[in-house]
């Protein structure tokens, strides 16, 4: 009977829903929803917060325009806007001029020591902004700056030669810090230019000046403008320099004002949000124009398949001049900042270099730092956050990237844009929005490592996407299709074909994100609480406490650690190379 009954039983028409749900769609679903949540949530809540009064236990949030009226009715805001633009434009212009000059020297002239230029590509990775700023304070502050003291000694005056606590000081430090980035972008632009375009102008009888003006400049102008824009955006969203150099003398920009609005009692979250929205508008316009320019730049695309490099211009005796420019630059950007940190770290109390001080060298500061109670915790936190977010980001963006590059799924451009959206968020603004969101939606992660983890993943998502996209574009569609024809499911094909082939980009992106996460300050500064400090936060706290000597010791160890990390990355990545994205 039983057998008969079984025979009559209808073959299960459809398995339950959870079985029919393909593994592929589960993974894709998680990645898409995750990215959408991470990218859109902070933006939405930032906007919401800027229109509402702060929610307190006794009073619910109410709609208000007061934040904007307060922000925009005061003369203070006009000055803020003026300062921000002044600072960002100055920084962009300065770093662009320096970076382009160096790029030209490196690419088109026979300046000696050219091989040292490679170092420029890793400096921004190994010297975090906060340490660079601190070292320039030690070098050029009016009271303790070594430059000032030396010059005053020589000339026997008390005239202040350099004052880093000024708008020009800020532009100087920030511009120097971003100049390697300008150098890298402009080097790429020079390299992608077909030298025969210049040579044919030369054969037409044009002079060097005419070629530079009418051919080289005209061809590279999209790259030039895009570079200036990106430098502008980076400068306007930078936090360390305005906070350390601007705030003490009352030069405020948007980022430092947001920080102040949060760190006063009672904290003005609404006001900070309305500043943040303004800042976000500026960066959005900048990033949008920049991406428009880059895609329009394809029209000017001058890349050819020909592998020959342009003739290097013979500078004659002038090449010693350009070499000395380079050596001075190298000193200003690496040697002096690092040496001053080393010097300061070997003191008991900070003092200017002198014969007398040399006798008092001590490793006390290092001992102090190593025994510092929260050092191990913050190193552990930094590592955990960096490794965790890099891994999650690279895996999630590999799926996102696959959807965007390899499928014809409708709405995939939207996904691409969503994952790139955090690019327009200044770190501080992102920190603020995430703080606001999880204060309002209390799911118990505020004040834990999780909120910082979410912030890091959101912030660096676009970098992961970019690294993966470059790699993904190089994987021929048929490599995956042939796996499918061989009988492999989507998951198998992704795991055994796509991911291994993606490895160069995956590894490079992973290492890059690890490095930038470890240095991260501007997002963490609004999200950390006791117990979840990271290394950069520790440096910040030491600065606030005035423990310069200890800070220097930590900074020196930090830079050496980053240097080792970058070197390992470079060795691992001979084939793919880690570079500033």
């Amino acid at each position: 009977m039983e057998v008969v009954a079984k025979g009559h039983a209808r073959p299960a028409a459809k398995p339950p829903l959870w079985q029919r749900l393909d593994f592929k769609w589960i993974i894709i679903g998680i990645c898409v929803v995750g990215v959408a949540y991470l990218a859109l949530m902070p933006l939405g809540f930032l906007l919401w917060q800027s229109f509402y009064t702060p929610q307190t236990a006794s009073q619910a949030a109410e709609f208000t325009l007061a934040n904007y009226t307060e922000a925009y009715s005061s003369v203070e805001t006009i000055r803020l806007l003026g300062n921000s633009i002044y600072f960002a434009v100055g920084t962009a212009a300065f770093s662009f001029v320096v970076g382009t000059g160096l790029a030209w020297m490196n690419e088109r002239t026979n300046t000696p020591f050219k091989s040292l230029f490679f170092a420029l590509s890793i400096i921004p990775l190994i010297i975090p902004g906060i340490l660079f700023t601190v070292s320039w304070i030690l070098l050029a502050s009016p009271k303790i700056g070594i430059f000032n003291l030396l010059l005053q000694n020589w000339f026997g005056t008390d005239y202040v030669f350099f004052n880093v606590y000024s708008m020009w000081g800020m532009i100087w430090v920030e511009g120097l810090h971003y100049s390697p980035m300008a150098f890298l972008i402009m080097t790429a632009a020079f390299r992608s230019m077909d030298p025969s375009l210049e040579e044919s102008a030369l054969m037409s009888g044009a002079s060097v000046g005419q070629i530079a003006w009418r051919i080289t400049l005209k061809l590279t102008w999209p790259a030039i403008f895009a570079t200036i824009l990106i430098l502008f955006v980076r400068a306007v969203e930078s936090f360390e320099v305005p906070a350390l150099l601007g705030l003490p003398v009352g030069i405020q920009v948007f980022t430092s004002s947001i920080y102040q609005a949060i760190h006063q009692y009672p904290s003005k979250v609404g006001l900070a949000s309305s500043y943040a929205v303004t800042l976000l508008l500026i960066t959005t316009v900048g990033v949008y124009l920049q991406s428009r320019l880059s895609s329009r730049g394809n029209k000017y695309s001058t890349v050819t398949g020909k592998g020959y490099r342009p003739r290097a211009m013979d500078l004659g005796k002038w090449r010693y001049f350009t070499a000395s420019i380079f050596i001075v630059y190298f000193g200003l950007i690496v040697v002096l900042p690092f040496l001053v940190l080393v010097w300061s770290s070997l003191q008991k109390f900070y003092s200017v270099p002198s014969m007398e001080a040399v006798h008092n060298l001590t490793f006390d500061a290092y001992k102090f730092m190593i025994e510092y109670p929260t050092l191990l915790d913050s190193v552990w936190n930094s590592l955990l956050l960096a490794l965790g977010s890099a891994t999650i980001i690279m895996l999630a963006t590999s799926v996102i990237c696959w959807i965007v590059v390899k499928t014809k799924m409708p709405g995939r451009w939207l996904l691409d844009n969503m994952a790139s959206l955090p690019m327009v968020f200044p770190g501080l603004v992102l920190g603020l929005s995430i703080m606001v969101f999880y204060l309002n939606f209390d799911i118990g992660i505020y004040g834990t490592m999780w909120i910082m983890f979410i912030a890091y993943v959101t912030r660096f998502l676009p970098y992961g996407l970019r690294y993966n996209t470059t790699s993904m574009l190089q994987i021929h569609k048929e490599l995956e299709e042939s796996a499918s024809m061989s009988g492999a499911s989507w998951g198998t094909a992704f795991w055994r074909i796509i991911l291994p082939l993606l490895k160069p980009g995956l590894m490079a992106g992973w290492i890059y994100i690890v490095i930038v996460s470890i240095r991260e300050l501007s997002t963490s500064i609004l999200l950390y609480s006791p117990g979840t400090e990271v290394i950069s936060i520790m440096i910040w706290e030491l600065w606030e406490n005035g423990q310069y000597v200890e800070l220097s010791a930590l900074g020196v160890m930090f830079i050496i650690a980053l240097f080792v990390l970058v070197m390992i990355a470079q060795m691992l990545g001979k084939r793919f190379g880690v570079k500033e994205a």
Binding site: E478, L479, E481, S486, G487, S489, R496, L501
Partner: protein, 374 residues
């Protein structure tokens, strides 16, 4: 074995417009035969192949293999490509660069629905590598292989899973000319020995003619003609097929009426009155196009030959091509291309006689007439 009926596949291009890549494609492939989809780039041959593979999802139609539908718009059936058990060789070969030769060939056995033991995999892979002559390279990195070896490996990978159907997407197009010809023979031998039902996509007409049991010539998303290689070459049914496959002379003509013998007509043309063969029906006064291949034109230097379709012309110029010579001959007010044995020494400007075999003068309905009928 394979049956494709009323297949339509379309996809959006970069501008979001719908491209009707394959329209109303219908053909049958019997068990063990090699069927070729031949056409210029953009004709829809690859789309058709990819639809059979399951890599493109068709819009409508029916694809069945051995009686079981793998795609049916009416039955709402779509079998995923990895469940179809078809072997495929891609144009780029798609050899996975991160695996060695053995791993590449073993992959289908490792990931398929059927589980194999290590020993079975080893045996099967080595057998198929031996069959394509790569057994001594099993441990070599796949990227260290030459183009021809990669092509064999791709074939081995497609064969190792003992597929129901073998799909080949321009497998020879990336090889240099010499190797291409050798692989052509090898491919043919292997297909005939294994008796594997094969769909072959190519834009190279000589490849199609050399390999196929049957050819479908495609043009702008539709099948222009299906037939044996000889059919396609000797009896093209429309201007496109005559033009695309081989070299031909087109002569505009007007039908006078039937001539003696089956399927024969008498036409008047720019080069004179001709007796021609046709597989379509024509009425007196219909516009027609006569296609005659250069090698079907006999050229006589001195005496006028006997028989039908003998014309008089003058040599305009000639090209020596080694195994044969091309003569451009002016007949009436037109130039005619004739391909002749190099022993013909007629100088430029000389008077020659041309004889066009009526069986080889194919009368094709002119496009204008087709439009009128439609």
């Amino acid at each position: 074995m394979l049956s494709v009926q009323n297949l339509c596949t379309e996809y959006p291009n970069e501008h979001g417009e719908v491209v009707k890549a394959a329209q109303d494609i219908t053909f049958e492939v019997p068990e063990g035969k090699l069927f070729t989809l031949l056409g210029p780039s953009g004709c829809g041959k690859t789309t058709t192949l990819r639809s059979i593979a399951g890599l493109e999802r068709p819009k409508s139609g029916l694809i069945s293999v051995g009686g079981a539908a793998v795609y049916s718009s009416s039955g709402n059936v779509f079998v995923a490509p990895n469940k179809r058990n078809f072997g495929m060789v891609f144009q780029s070969y798609a050899i996975w660069p991160h695996m060695n030769v053995f791993q590449n060939a073993a992959f289908p056995l490792e990931v398929g629905a059927k589980r194999y033991s290590k020993k079975e995999i080893q045996d099967k892979v080595m057998r198929v590598l031996t069959a394509v002559g790569l057994d001594q390279y099993a441990d070599r990195e796949a990227t260290k292989m030459s183009g021809g070896q990669q092509q064999r490996l791709a074939l081995a990978r497609a064969l190792v899973m003992e597929p129901k159907l073998l799909l080949l997407d321009e497998p020879l197009s990336n090889l240099d000319a010499k190797l291409r010809e050798r692989m052509r023979f090898e491919l043919k031998r292997m297909q005939r020995e294994l008796g594997l039902t094969t769909i072959y996509v190519t834009h190279d007409q000589s490849e199609a003619l050399a390999l196929s049991h049957e050819i479908a010539v495609m043009n702008s998303g539709r099948i222009a003609q299906v037939g044996s290689p000889r059919d396609i070459y000797e009896r093209p049914r429309n201007k496109f097929v005559a033009d695309f496959v081989g070299l031909t002379n087109f002569i505009d003509a007007t039908v006078e009426g039937p001539d003696e013998g089956d399927n024969h007509y008498r036409v008047t043309s720019g080069i004179g009155s001709l007796k021609v063969t046709s597989y379509d029906k024509f009425d007196k006064g219909d516009a027609a196009l006569i296609s005659v291949r250069p090698e079907d034109i006999q050229v006589h230097e001195n005496e006028r030959p006997q028989g039908d379709n003998v014309l008089e012309g003058t040599v305009s110029f000639k090209v020596f091509l080694g195994e044969y010579m091309d003569f451009q001959i002016k007949v009436g007010n037109r130039e005619v291309l004739a391909r002749v044995h190099p022993s013909l020494k007629a100088p430029v400007g000389a008077k020659v006689y041309l004889r066009l075999n009526p069986e080889k003068c194919i009368c094709i309905a002119d496009d204008a007439q087709l439009k009128k009928a439609a």
